[in-house]
C-alpha cells in the first residue's frame, strides 16, 4: 500500500514512518508532506491508498486538507486517518464527522496504527 504522512514536524514524520515499518502493514511507497498544501501537490502526481495527517500545521491544516480531499472527485476515495496529540472528544468527533476514517492519538503503537489503517481501508471498500 502507498501511504502519505502529513505532519509539519520532520521528527514526527520519522517516528510515524518507523512505526509504520514496525506495524507489519505492507508499505510500498511512503510520501511525506509538511502541511496540507504540500500534500495536495503530491496528490496531484501520485495515487495513494491512505493519508495519515496531523491537524495543526502551518499554511494548510489537516482539517482543510480533509475538506479539500472530500470535495475532489478522486481524492475523496482515499481514506484519511488523523494522527494528533489532541485527544479531546470534541476534536475527535469533529474530524470524524468531517469525514476522517480514523483518529489515532499520538503517540501510538504499531498495532494501534495498523488496526486503524486497516479499518479505514475496510470502510473505503465498503463504501464503493
Amino acid at each position: 500500500m502507498d501511504v502519505m504522512i502529513v505532519d509539519d514536524s520532520p521528527a514526527m514524520r520519522t517516528f510515524i514512518r518507523r512505526v509504520l515499518l514496525l506495524s507489519s502493514l505492507k508499505i510500498g511507497g511512503c510520501l511525506e508532506a509538511a502541511n496540507g498544501e504540500e500534500a495536495l501537490q503530491l496528490l496531484e502526481r501520485n495515487w495513494l491508498d491512505v493519508v495519515l495527517t496531523d491537524i495543526h500545521m502551518p499554511l494548510m491544516d489537516g482539517e482543510e486538507l480533509l475538506r479539500r480531499m472530500l470535495r475532489h472527485e478522486v481524492w475523496k476515495l482515499i481514506p484519511v486517518v488523523v494522527l494528533s496529540a489532541d485527544q479531546t472528544r470534541e476534536r475527535t468527533r469533529r474530524m470524524l464527522e468531517l469525514g476522517a476514517k480514523g483518529y489515532v492519538s499520538k503517540p501510538f503503537t504499531p498495532e494501534k496504527l495498523r488496526r486503524e489503517v486497516e479499518q479505514s481501508l475496510g470502510v473505503r471498500r465498503a463504501s464503493y
Partner: protein, 182 residues
C-alpha cells in the same frame, strides 16, 4: 477543618459538571485537586515515554530532589487556550533530551543533532500535554498552541503543579498550570 490545617491545594480546571461533585467542594467551580493532576501527570508521562521512546519511569516524586550536576535544561512550554486555558511545561536536561530523541527517531545518539533533539522535546511535550488535558478535560473545548522551547529554562514553574520523573538515564519534570477565567 482545624484552623491550622492547610486546605487541600486545588487548581482551576475544566469540568463544568464537576462543580456539582461534592468531593470537589471547597474550591472554585470545577477545581481539580493538585493530587489528581499529579496522578494524571504520572500516567501521561509514563505512557508517552514508553510508547514513543521505549523509556520507563523508575521513580516519580511530587518535588524534584536537589541536582548537583547543574546541567543545562531545555524547557518546552505548551500554552492552551479556551475552556480551560493555561500552560503545560516540560523540563528536560540536554543530555536526556538527546537520548530520548535518539530512541524516538530510532537512531544512535551520535546521529542526532541538537536541533532534532529539541524538535523531539517539542513533540514529547505536545503529546504529554494532550494526554494530560484529555484525561482531565475530555469534554472541554480548547486548543493547544504550538509548543515553544526555552534553552536553560530551569525548572521554576511558580504556581504550577509539577511532578519529577527519574527515567534511569536522567530525570525530567512536567508541570501544569490552569489560568483562571477573567
Amino acid at each position: 477543618m482545624h484552623p491550622t490545617e492547610k486546605p487541600a491545594r486545588t487548581t482551576e480546571a475544566c469540568r463544568p459538571e464537576d462543580s456539582q461533585n461534592p468531593s470537589r467542594a471547597g474550591g472554585p467551580a470545577g477545581a481539580v485537586p493538585a493530587s489528581e493532576i499529579q496522578t494524571v501527570l504520572l500516567s501521561a508521562v509514563e505512557v508517552v515515554l514508553e510508547t514513543a521512546c521505549c523509556a520507563g519511569v523508575f521513580k516519580s516524586l511530587e518535588e524534584a530532589p536537589p541536582d548537583p550536576r547543574g546541567e543545562v535544561v531545555i524547557t518546552v512550554r505548551v500554552p492552551f487556550e479556551g475552556k480551560p486555558s493555561g500552560e503545560f511545561s516540560l523540563h528536560v536536561p540536554e543530555g536526556l533530551t538527546l537520548l530520548l530523541a535518539a530512541r524516538f527517531l530510532g537512531r544512535d545518539e551520535w546521529e542526532v543533532s541538537a536541533g532534532q533533539a529539541e524538535e523531539v522535546a517539542l513533540e514529547l511535550a505536545n503529546m504529554i500535554c494532550g494526554a494530560v488535558l484529555s484525561n482531565l478535560c475530555a469534554g472541554a473545548t480548547f486548543q493547544m498552541m504550538h509548543p515553544l522551547t526555552k534553552g536553560d529554562g530551569g525548572t521554576d514553574c511558580g504556581g504550577a503543579v509539577c511532578r519529577w520523573f527519574d527515567v534511569g538515564e536522567g530525570s525530567l519534570t512536567a508541570c501544569l498550570q490552569f489560568r483562571k477565567a477573567i
